[in-house]
Amino acid sequence: MARALWPSRMDDCATEKAIRKPSRFPGSRVTINRAPAAPPDMGNNKKKSKHSSNGHRGGGGAPVRPVERSSSGGNHSKKGKGSSNLRTYSIPDFRLEHPDFTVHQSTDKNGHVRYEVTGDLDAAVPPIRESKCLDQQQAVQIYRYMMLNRKMEMALENLYKQGKVVGGVYFGLGQEACSCASAYALDKDDWFAPMIRNQGSLLVRGFRARDTMMQYMAKADSPTHGRDGTSHFGDIEKRNMVSPISMLGDLIPVMSGVALGARLQGRNIAVMTYIGDGGQSTGVTYEGINFAAVQNLGLVLIVESNEWAYSTPSEMQYRCKDLAERAVGYGIPGVIVDGTDACQVYDAAREAVERAHRGEGPTLIEAKMMRMKGHAIHDSASYVPRPLFDFWKKRDPIARFENYLVCKKKWLTGKENAELVAEVERVIEEEREVAVNSPMPTPESAEGGVYCENGCHEIKPKYGRPKAKKGTAAYKETEAAVHLK
């Protein structure tokens, strides 16, 4: 499939003219232009980079470059009067709307501090963007995974209410397009690591609903045999999934290391993971992205901007307008997509995956959406201003994609759609049945397995024996002066 994904003409995408937000600091030299000023350019730098980090392959190099000439109106040219030091960067933005509201704290008449939303909450719902690369079969498959994702979570909610779940349930409601379409963009040899709300990604990568269900019920047959819950499991043999941990951001350097390992074995793979607008506040997020950038590793980082980190709005997590702007500081491409639009998510993710396969380094994709439930099932999310829920409910990723496939593209008839939904419900019921009937683990199964020993694993390079080139330098004793003799 030929892919030139970034909008190449201004009328092809939502325009956001010029610089919306002036720099907060006088003398600031970087201006972010959120409009897709340049043609498809995720860093295919033609010039040979002088950068010589370890393992760089041809064509890599620092991917974000100053845009020499803006095509979005030309009102911030590099050589304009008094602005010779001004650099302009492009953050391609695929969205067909730009929600315009802010959440802030205010004190109501009873003296309670509440979150309040102000802005335009009545905007018309945007259409699904035409994908540059999804065909009918692929689009319908993604839709089915999204449906599976949602129905599985509905089943989990019921299992919780029946008292069968140990602990809480986490939902990806409203984020199914992001989870499913992103994971769908990976190839078989690529790796991924989900976060707690990416239960749909697991389904796309071949795990069954029963796996996640049994994890939640702490069953003996769950992938971790009861030792951990939720989406905390992995598979380095077949599905190339690294288990998440509860701490946020730590998967980013880990996935970078997976790409490093593969590269040492002669393969450029894509490694996809996720981080929220809350999780990106952690220091290890910076360390991980920076490491991937310096090493030019094929990290595809989906930043899920879902407005809320537990009960804290994104306004209290970071100050820049869009998290994609962070990419500029790392020297990597950053793009913005509507996380409720499967086509946008897929196109951006696929382009990033292909960049990774070409050895062109990491990509940061910010997916804007809304967490449509509380942090977990115990949390009613009463702190979220209702109008925000109303706004995003109209942008439900599944309802809109369904409408797109059935009414706009006519890729599914009404009957076929009904059959697809019925099939998904049947699958979920079967999976639920198997999961519920799995026994609880024995108490003694808490023991053992702390170490890999007695031949329990054979360790061998996944992509083949590294072809290590050796220099001619021979071993000789070191006599150099050292720190702290």
């Binding site: 288990s243 350097p253 880990v254 997976v258 360390e287 702390v450 220099g471």
Partner: protein
Amino acid sequence: MQLTYLEAIRQGIWEEMERDPTVFCLGEDIGIYGGAFKVTDGFIDRFGPERVIDTPIAESAIVGAAFGASLTGMRPVAEFQFMDFIPCAMNQISNMVAKTHYLWGAPAPLVLRGPSGGYVHGGPFHSQNPEMWFVHNPGLKVICPATPYDAKGLIKAAIRDNNPCVFFEHKYLYRRIKGEVPTDDYVVPIGKAQVAREGKDLSIITYAAMVHIAFEAAEILSEEGIDLEILDLRTVSPLDRDAIVATVKKTNKVIILHEHSRTGGLAGEITAIINEEAFDDLDGPIVRIAGLDSAIPFSPPQEHHYLPKLEDVVRESRRLKAY
């Protein structure tokens, strides 16, 4: 051949990189500069920048990347410039790396190595002995060699091991001691202590630089007719319980000597093992000699006061012998 402790470690890593192309090194300033202590000096010329990777100053990224690479079947050796900086990566080590095999069955064959220990006036952030933080993390192997022979044999064993190993190199020993190291390929088993000196009167259970203080004490005390047995633990997690019990049963009196702070230190754990398995064999109280319960101070007189000393070992041995 006679090698320094540092050279033994260096040679061990070099040989493993020659033998196995899945072994690679990453860390701060380890490439052209060869590492702050020159453990990887010359490696980049032989193995290339692909396998000797200078990283940003980002300990969590170093451990995370090492772990990720290990999941693809590589055997990374990550250097900490000083082990004092290892808490910067604590979440990666404790929550990601250590638990991975137990929770989801993925082996993590990686080595985290670097210099630790005092007696070099490095101050509170360049002299610590943070091994206990890792002893309390099931899933990790924690290795603290005392001799060039063990250092080489254990670093090679750690690289070949299928589990995450935290390898503490005592920086006081780096270039101060030399020892006989065979030129043939060999490994020293992880998790096995060694009786470094046979004796009959009382046992000093210790490891790393403290082994050498124990030897000096043994020389002095032998002239007084006190015969010390020295048990060098070599690995502090998993502990060699059998070796601990055996030496207690032999001498019936025990001093536990370690450099890190007393409270919550390894001596407490060893004491508990002795209580559980050899209480009836004791002919005296178990004695602890350890660092003070404070940060390790910078100024030489203060550092000297903080750390275990030869005179402490001699004094406590005399007292216990007379008990």
